[in-house]
C-alpha cells in the first residue's frame, strides 16, 4: 500500500481480508493448484493465506466502448457497470449521465450492474466512488459512442459528420433533413472503437437530463413487491441451507455429533474444514437439521466493552499506519503549551452494526464445474475472488450476480453467505439458498470500528487556533485532518488490535473523527467565549465549507433564539470525500427524566454539480436519520467472544418516532465536478446533537452513543 496507489489505499481501508472458511483441499485440487512437482507441506490455512493477496493491480479498465455500452437494433441502450445498486440510487443517476452524453431519452437506458460475467471488473461500490469515477467513465464512453454514431451516419450519407446532429436517440442531417435512429445505424453491431483520450464531456451547465429529479427507474417494482432481491431468488429444485455457528468468536470445535441431524429425511450435513452446515428441501427442515446438530465448542476468554478503549490504545503501541507515518509532535506540543487557552479531551465511539434490513443472502448453483451465485454484496468481484479462493477455481468458473439489494451501508463487502451456499450446493448437487438470520447478521458480519480519540488544542484569547493534535486509536484515518487553519497541527491514526471483526461503515472513521473534532471545536468556542459559528468562521478559509456552514446557519436561523435548559441548539460541519456538510440540531430535553428528543435538523450539503437533486436529498436526509442511531443509542455490547445484544429488541435503531423534522439545503455547484453523496451526510449529526445537549444542559457528552438509554446520565 502506498500513497501513489489511491485504489490500493482505498481498498485497504474498505476491505476485510480475513477468510471465515477454509475447506479441505483434496489431493486432486492440490495438484491442480501447485502442479505435481511441489512437495512443500503447507497447512490448509497457509494455502489460503498465499491466495489472499489482492489482485486489483492486474485489472485495467477496458477502453473499448462495447465493454461498457451496447445499442440494440431497437435503439435500446444497455450500460454495463460493476457498481451495484444498494438503495443509493445510482441505477438512476448513472443512467441519467449516459442518457445526457449519448443524447438519448432517459427511458431507453437499461443498466446492467454487478454481473461478473457481463460487466467490466470493478473494485466495489464503496468510498463514494461511483459518482466521481464511474460517472465520468460512463459519460466518456457515451460521448465517444455518440461521436462514432455521427461518423457512421456521415459515412452512410456521404456527409460531413461534423455537420450532423445527435439528439433524442437519432442522428439528423439538418441540411437534408434525413435522420436515422441509433439502432438503425449500428444494426446490432458492437461499437468496438476505443475512446480517445481527449473525449470532451457536456458541461454540467448544459445538462438537460443529468441534473434533474428523475424518479427512481424501477420505483414501481418496489411498491408492488415485484423486485427480486438476492434473498428472493429461486432456482429449480432449490434447497435451503443453514450454517452451524460457533458458540463464540475464535471458538475451537471440540466434538460434533451429526447423527441425529443426518437421520432427518432430506437433510444433508456438510462438515468440511471449519465449515459445518446443513441443507434440506425446505427451510423448516433445514432449521430442524441445524438444531439437531450437537457440537461442543471451546471458546477462549476474550475482551468485553469493559476496558475496551484502554486496551485499544495499549495495543496500538509499536504499530504504525503506513499512510500516516509518525510525525514529530514537538512543535505542535510547544505551540499548545504556549497557548493562553488549552484543552485536552478524550472521545470514544463504540462498535456499531450496519444491520441492513436484508441480511446476507445467497443462492448458489453448480453447472459443469462452474458456480453461479446470486448474492447481496457491494463487491461482486471481491466475492468472485473469495469463491475462487475457497473452491480453487479459475476465474471463468465463477459468476457472481448482484440483484439490487436491501442495502449495505458499507456492511456487505464480504461474501460469507455466497461461500456457504456454494459449499452446500456443491455437496447436494442442487442450488442452495442461504439467508442469514438477524442474529447471524448482528454477530457474524463485521462492525464499524470502535475508537478512542484524543485531541489537544491551543488558542489565543481572541479565538485563533494555534495548535492542534488529534490521535485516533483504531477507528480509522478518514477525515482525520482538521479543515481549520492551524499553523501547528498533527493528526495521526494508530492501528490497534480489535477484539471484534471490524470493517467499512458509511463514511468510515469520518463520523468518529468529525464528532471528536467538532465537539472539541464547540468546547473551545465556549472556553474562549465565542459563538460556535463565529469561532469556526474565524479559523476557516475553505470557501466550500464556509458556504455550507453559512447556509445551514441561515436556514436554521442560528442565533435567533437562545438555548434554554429544555431546548438546545448545536452546530457542526465537516468535509470528506468531496462532500461538504454543515448540520444544525435542535434538541429537546424533558426536565424530569432528562430524556432527549431531536426535534429539528437542518443540513446544508454541497458536493459539486448535482446529478439528481431528489436522489441527493433522499441520501442526505437518510444519512441524518441513520446518523441519529450512532449518535444517540446504537452500540454493540460484547463479552467473551459473544454479542450480547444481537437483536433489534436489544439493539435500538432509529424508528419513525426518532426522526426529527429535517430540512436539507442543497448547494448546486455546476462549476465543480460531482462528488459522491451517499456517505458524508452522516458526519455532522452526532457533534451537532452533542453540542446542542451541551448548550441546553452544560453537560458535555464525549462518548458515542451519547445517550445509550435515551437520557442524559
Amino acid at each position: 500500500m502506498s500513497a501513489l496507489d489511491p485504489m490500493a489505499a482505498e481498498l485497504a481501508e474498505h476491505t476485510i481480508d480475513d477468510k471465515p472458511y477454509w475447506f479441505r483441499v483434496d489431493r486432486r485440487d492440490f495438484l491442480k493448484l501447485f502442479g505435481g512437482g511441489l512437495l512443500v507441506c503447507l497447512t490448509e490455512r497457509s494455502i489460503l493465506a498465499q491466495e489472499s493477496g489482492r489482485t486489483f493491480g492486474s485489472h485495467e479498465l477496458p477502453d473499448d466502448i462495447a465493454a461498457w455500452l451496447a445499442i440494440a437494433p431497437d435503439s435500446q441502450v444497455t450500460v454495463m457497470t460493476g457498481k451495484v445498486e444498494v438503495g443509493q440510487n445510482i441505477r438512476t443517476s448513472l443512467a441519467q449521465q449516459v442518457a445526457e452524453e449519448l443524447r438519448v431519452p432517459f427511458d431507453s437506458i437499461t443498466m446492467l450492474m454487478g454481473d461478473t460475467d457481463l460487466v467490466p471488473w470493478d473494485a466495489g461500490t464503496f468510498g463514494s466512488r461511483t459518482t466521481p469515477t464511474m460517472g465520468p467513465q460512463l459519460r466518456k464512453m457515451a460521448a465517444a459512442a455518440r461521436q462514432v454514431l455521427l461518423e457512421m451516419a456521415g459515412k452512410r450519407w456521404n456527409a460531413d459528420a461534423t455537420k450532423l446532429v445527435a439528439a433524442d436517440g437519432k442522428v439528423t442531417d439538418p441540411h437534408s433533413g434525413q435522420s436515422l435512429r441509433y439502432g438503425e445505424l449500428t444494426r446490432g453491431e458492437k461499437l468496438t472503437q476505443t475512446i480517445a483520450a481527449d473525449t470532451s464531456l457536456t458541461a454540467a451547465s448544459d445538462w438537460k437530463i443529468a441534473g434533474t429529479a428523475v424518479p427512481k427507474v424501477n420505483g414501481r417494482d418496489f411498491v408492488t413487491g415485484k423486485h427480486k432481491y438476492p434473498s428472493d431468488i429461486v432456482r429449480p429444485e432449490m434447497m435451503f441451507g443453514k450454517v452451524l455457528r460457533p458458540e463464540g468468536y475464535n471458538a475451537a470445535l471440540v466434538s460434533l455429533d451429526a447423527s441425529k441431524a443426518e437421520k432427518i429425511p432430506g437433510v444433508t450435513v456438510v462438515h468440511d474444514g471449519n465449515f459445518i452446515g446443513v441443507a434440506a428441501p425446505d427451510l423448516p427442515t433445514a432449521e430442524r437439521g441445524l438444531s439437531a446438530l450437537h457440537a461442543n465448542w471451546n471458546v477462549p476468554a476474550q475482551p468485553s466493552n469493559q476496558g475496551l478503549f484502554e486496551s485499544l490504545k495499549q495495543s496500538s503501541a509499536g504499530k504504525q499506519d503506513e499512510d500516516s507515518p509518525a510525525q514529530s509532535t514537538e512543535a505542535v506540543s510547544q505551540a499548545i503549551a504556549a497557548a493562553p487557552v488549552k484543552l485536552h479531551q478524550q472521545y470514544t465511539v463504540q462498535y456499531i452494526a450496519h444491520s441492513p434490513l436484508e441480511p446476507r443472502a445467497a443462492v448458489a448453483e453448480w453447472n459443469n464445474g462452474k458456480v453461479t451465485v446470486w448474492t447481496g454484496t457491494q463487491r461482486p468481484f471481491g466475492v468472485r475472488d473469495e469463491l475462487m479462493a475457497a473452491f480453487h477455481l479459475p476465474v471463468e468458473k465463477v459468476r457472481v450476480l448482484q440483484p439490487d439489494m436491501g442495502s449495505g451501508y458499507g456492511g456487505k463487502h464480504t461474501g460469507e453467505a455466497a461461500v456457504e451456499a456454494a459449499r452446500l450446493a456443491k455437496a447436494t448437487g442442487k442450488p442452495v439458498k442461504v439467508v442469514w438470520t438477524r442474529e447471524e447478521e448482528f454477530t457474524w458480519a463485521y462492525f464499524r470500528p470502535a475508537g478512542l480519540i484524543e485531541i489537544s488544542s491551543g488558542a489565543t484569547h481572541d479565538g485563533t487556533l494555534v495548535g492542534w493534535e488529534h490521535h485516533n486509536y483504531n477507528s480509522g484515518p478518514a477525515a482525520i485532518t482538521t479543515p481549520y487553519n492551524v499553523t501547528h497541527q498533527l493528526s495521526q491514526y494508530h492501528p490497534a488490535d480489535s477484539p471484534l471483526r471490524q470493517g467499512s461503515y458509511r463514511s468510515l472513521a469520518a463520523t468518529a473523527n468529525n464528532f471528536a473534532r467538532e465537539s472539541h471545536m464547540d468546547e473551545m468556542a465556549h472556553t474562549v467565549g465565542m459563538d460556535p459559528v463565529e469561532f469556526r468562521m474565524k479559523n476557516l478559509t475553505d470557501a466550500r465549507l464556509r458556504a455550507v456552514l453559512q447556509a445551514a446557519a441561515d436556514k436554521f436561523k442560528w442565533g435567533a433564539s437562545k438555548s434554554t435548559s429544555q431546548r438546545g441548539f448545536g452546530i457542526a460541519c465537516g468535509t470528506d470525500k468531496g462532500g461538504y456538510v454543515a448540520t444544525c440540531a435542535e434538541v429537546e430535553i424533558d426536565p424530569p427524566d432528562k430524556k432527549i428528543k431531536i426535534r429539528r435538523v437542518v443540513q446544508a450539503w454541497e458536493s459539486g454539480a448535482i446529478i439528481n437533486p431528489d436522489g441527493l436529498r433522499n441520501q442526505v436526509s437518510g444519512a441524518i436519520v441513520q446518523g441519529i442511531g450512532g449518535a444517540l443509542f446504537e452500540q454493540i455490547r460484547f463479552a467473551n467472544g459473544r454479542i450480547l445484544n444481537a437483536h433489534f429488541a436489544q439493539y435500538r435503531v432509529p424508528r419513525f418516532s426518532d426522526a426529527p423534522q429535517i430540512e436539507v439545503v442543497l448547494i448546486d455547484r455546476r462549476d465543480l465536478p460531482s462528488a459522491g453523496a451517499g456517505e458524508s451526510g452522516i458526519i455532522g449529526v452526532a457533534p451537532a446533537v452533542g453540542n446542542a445537549i451541551f448548550a441546553a444542559t452544560g453537560t458535555r457528552l464525549r462518548n458515542m452513543p451519547l445517550v445509550p438509554n435515551g437520557r442524559i446520565v
Binding site: R220, V234, L283, P284, P356, L357, R438, S621, G622
Partner: protein
C-alpha cells in the same frame, strides 16, 4: 406436513406445510410470494408485515394455522386492474424508499392505517407506523406519502 387452503389476495391457495410453520416462510418459500420480506424473524422490524382481515401482523410470528382462518393480503394483492393503490402511488410520487426492502411492509401498514383512520395526524402516523424499521432512514418521506395517500395537503418532514 398438513394441507391448508389460504385465502391470499382474494384467491384460494392450496399449500402443504407443517402447522407451526410461519406464514412468512409459507408465503415466500412455498408460494413464491417474495414481496413479503424477512428482516428479523422476531417481530421487531415489521418487514414481513401482511394484513389478516385488514389488520397488520408480523407474518414471521404468525403460524400458517392461525393465518388459514383469515383473508390474507400481501403486497402482491394491492394493485387493482393493473393500477397502483393510492398508498402505492403515493410512495412512488414521494420517492419514499431507498433500497426498498422495507417498502412492502410500510405500504401494507399504511394501507391498514388509512382504512381505520382515513385522515391521520402526523402523530397518529408516527405511532401507528412505528413498528416498521427503515434502515435507510426514509421516515419523513414515508410520512409524507401516507399524508399524500390520505389526501391531506400538509407535508411532513419538509425536507
Amino acid at each position: 406436513m398438513s394441507d391448508f387452503i389460504l385465502k391470499i389476495n382474494g384467491t384460494d391457495r392450496h399449500v402443504s406445510a407443517s402447522p407451526d410453520e410461519s406464514l412468512l416462510s409459507v408465503l415466500r418459500d412455498r408460494l413464491d410470494l417474495t414481496g413479503t420480506k424477512y428482516g428479523c424473524g422476531e417481530g421487531q422490524c415489521a418487514a414481513c408485515t401482511v394484513l389478516l382481515d385488514g389488520k397488520p401482523v408480523h407474518s414471521c410470528l404468525t403460524s400458517v394455522v392461525a393465518a388459514a382462518k383469515s383473508n390474507i393480503t400481501t403486497i402482491e394483492g394491492l394493485e387493482k386492474n393493473g393500477g397502483l393503490s393510492p398508498v402505492q402511488q403515493a410512495f412512488v410520487e414521494e420517492g419514499a424508499f431507498q433500497c426498498g426492502y422495507c417498502t412492502s411492509g410500510m405500504v401494507l401498514r399504511a394501507t391498514a392505517l388509512l382504512q381505520a383512520t382515513p385522515h391521520p395526524t402526523e402523530d397518529q402516523i408516527v405511532s401507528y407506523m412505528n413498528p416498521n424499521i427503515c434502515r435507510c432512514g426514509v421516515y419523513p418521506r414515508i410520512i409524507a406519502a401516507v399524508q399524500r395517500a390520505s389526501g391531506s395537503p400538509e407535508k411532513a418532514g419538509g425536507q
